[in-house]
């Protein structure tokens, strides 16, 4: 019971901090909107998307995944801020199991990421993507899967990072590759084999594929494979994160 309330309050804290930083909510939508409209419009005439849809429609789920990806990683990495500002000590000295700290943080970060994703979803009519209630619900589900996996990864990274200085490195060498290799911005069907291999190693690929499947009806892998990879990745990340927290110092 204690662990349940610990998870709840960690989650609630992330939501409160999200709300506190209202300016960030909109600021962080700038980049995906640029991608969506500039890249989408510029490349639409020249890039053939599968299924005969417009390129801007094609990348819409990819851009939403990008929003979820970046928000998730930022939320998880905030653990490093907590360490620098001392708040992490308050959490670690409390009589709560380390796994509930990981779950609470992941749930908080994921909820924030999905909220950001939902804001992007509001742009669907502008892009020409038709949404039904069912599609919205399914999309939210997939966004959560992505968010869990990535917050898990973020917590694993944050547990080892002592200072925020290394963050730009993480963005350049982990987050950017995950984003660019995920097929968020290009069709997966005509890639050279080395690139095809790399995209298949990227866990986000399966999330983007599934989101594209539920939103546009186009996907390269079966939903089962997508689910298994996403859930498997999430599980491994959570397990590693819990171990890291237990071993710390």
């Amino acid at each position: 019971m204690g662990d349940f309330w610990a998870i709840y309050i960690l989650w609630l804290r992330d939501l409160k901090r999200y709300w506190y930083d209202k300016a960030r909510i909109f600021a962080s939508l700038g980049q995906p909107i640029l991608f969506l409209f500039v890249l989408g419009t510029a490349l639409s005439p020249s890039v053939a998307a599968p299924g005969g849809i417009k390129f801007s429609e094609f990348i819409f789920p990819g851009i939403i995944s990008m929003t979820v990806l970046f928000t998730s990683i930022f939320s998880a990495i905030s653990i490093v801020w907590d360490r620098e500002f001392g708040f992490l000590k308050e959490v670690l000295v409390a009589p709560v199991s380390r796994w509930s700290i990981v779950i609470g943080k992941a749930l908080g970060g994921s909820t924030v990421a999905v909220l950001q994703g939902c804001l992007m979803l509001l742009l669907a009519p502008l892009v020409g993507v038709q949404l039904s209630l069912l599609i919205v619900i399914q999309s939210i589900f997939v966004m959560f899967l992505i968010a869990f996996a990535i917050t898990g990864l973020g917590i694993v990274i944050a547990a080892r990072m002592k200072e925020m200085e290394g963050f730009q490195m993480i963005v350049n060498f982990v987050i950017m590759p995950i984003f660019f290799l995920s097929g968020a911005l290009f069709p997966m069907d005509r890639l050279p084999s080395w690139l095809a291999l790399l995209t298949r190693i990227d866990p986000l690929t399966y999330g983007v594929d599934m989101l594209r499947g539920v939103m546009l009806g186009i996907h390269s892998f079966s939903y089962i494979l997508n689910l298994v990879v996403m859930l498997g990745f999430t599980f491994i990340m959570f397990a590693v994160a819990v171990i890291e927290f237990n071993l710390a110092e």
């Binding site: 308050e90 000295v93 709560v96």
Partner: protein, 262 residues
């Protein structure tokens, strides 16, 4: 070993940081209900010791028991029994004062109906109740410190660690905070493990340990130490044992006056 009367028991506790020994095989015990002072110059190893006792740092070797539980083997049982006021800031300044306390109450699995009332009690004590809806970001350094003290007391721990609790507080507030902590101690049989650089504050301790370079140099009741070293104040004892290299502290004269009045 009579564990029933000891709230802390430390045996040959050692902590190294990359070859540097910060805490060097110290041993001591703190009795239930005791106010135990841990005095030493900057870098002596006080905070490192506290971090090991409160389960944030693993000992390199040796053992420590808090409330009869081994800090390395049963950290969660230790965590339940203790409250701590860290030396360094540890608040979330993007939450309100009240939300910081609520967060704490939930983490310590307090009864939700009790949390409200307790928050009111501790905030009233540190005179922040009317600022409870303010973001901590807007607080002055002293207000933040008072809020941390309120938070450390919120869940009514059996053992309270105070790592320089009155650092940065004005003399009035320091006097006030001690008054309350000592009252809590009488009412709830609270045990206290404290560090401070204000030697006058250490006079309230039942016993003090003087630590220097990671080793306990002496340990006794303040009165015994004073007669042993032939000094009239703890400060004199401290300087005699550890040399003359402590930093000057602001605001001590007013504090001394308050101590004389009471």
């Amino acid at each position: 070993m009579n564990t029933t009367t000891e709230i802390i028991k430390v045996e040959n506790l050692k902590r190294k940081f990359n070859g540097f020994t910060a805490v060097d095989s110290i041993s001591f015990a703190v009795k239930k209900g005791e106010v135990f002072g841990f005095l030493g110059p900057n870098g002596a190893g006080k905070t490192t010791t506290i971090n090991m006792l409160c389960t944030l740092l693993r000992p390199t070797s040796g053992q420590a028991f808090v409330a009869c539980c081994d800090v390395a083997k049963e950290p969660n049982r230790v965590r339940k029994e203790i409250g701590i006021i860290f030396q360094d800031p540890s608040l979330d300044d993007r939450l309100t004062a009240e939300d910081n306390l609520k967060f704490h109450g939930y983490l310590y699995n307090m009864d939700h109906r009790v949390i409200e009332a307790r928050i009111k009690d501790v905030l009233t004590l540190v005179e922040l109740y009317d600022r409870r809806k303010d973001y901590v970001k807007k607080f002055s350094g002293g207000m933040k410190r008072r809020l941390e003290i309120a938070r450390g007391l919120l869940h009514q721990p059996k053992l309270l660690f105070l790592d320089e609790p009155t650092l940065g507080l004005d003399p009035q507030t320091r006097a006030h905070i001690w008054e309350y902590i000592l009252k809590m101690r009488q009412e709830h049989n609270l045990s206290i493990f404290m560090t401070t650089h204000y030697m006058q504050e250490a006079e309230v301790c039942d016993r003090v340990a003087i630590i220097d370079h990671g080793k306990i140099v002496d340990l006794d009741a303040p009165a015994n130490l004073k007669s042993k070293y032939n000094e009239t104040t703890l400060e004199g004892v401290f300087l005699k044992i550890t040399g003359k290299d402590i930093r000057p502290q602001a605001g001590e004269s007013a504090w001394t006056q308050w101590m004389r009045r009471t």
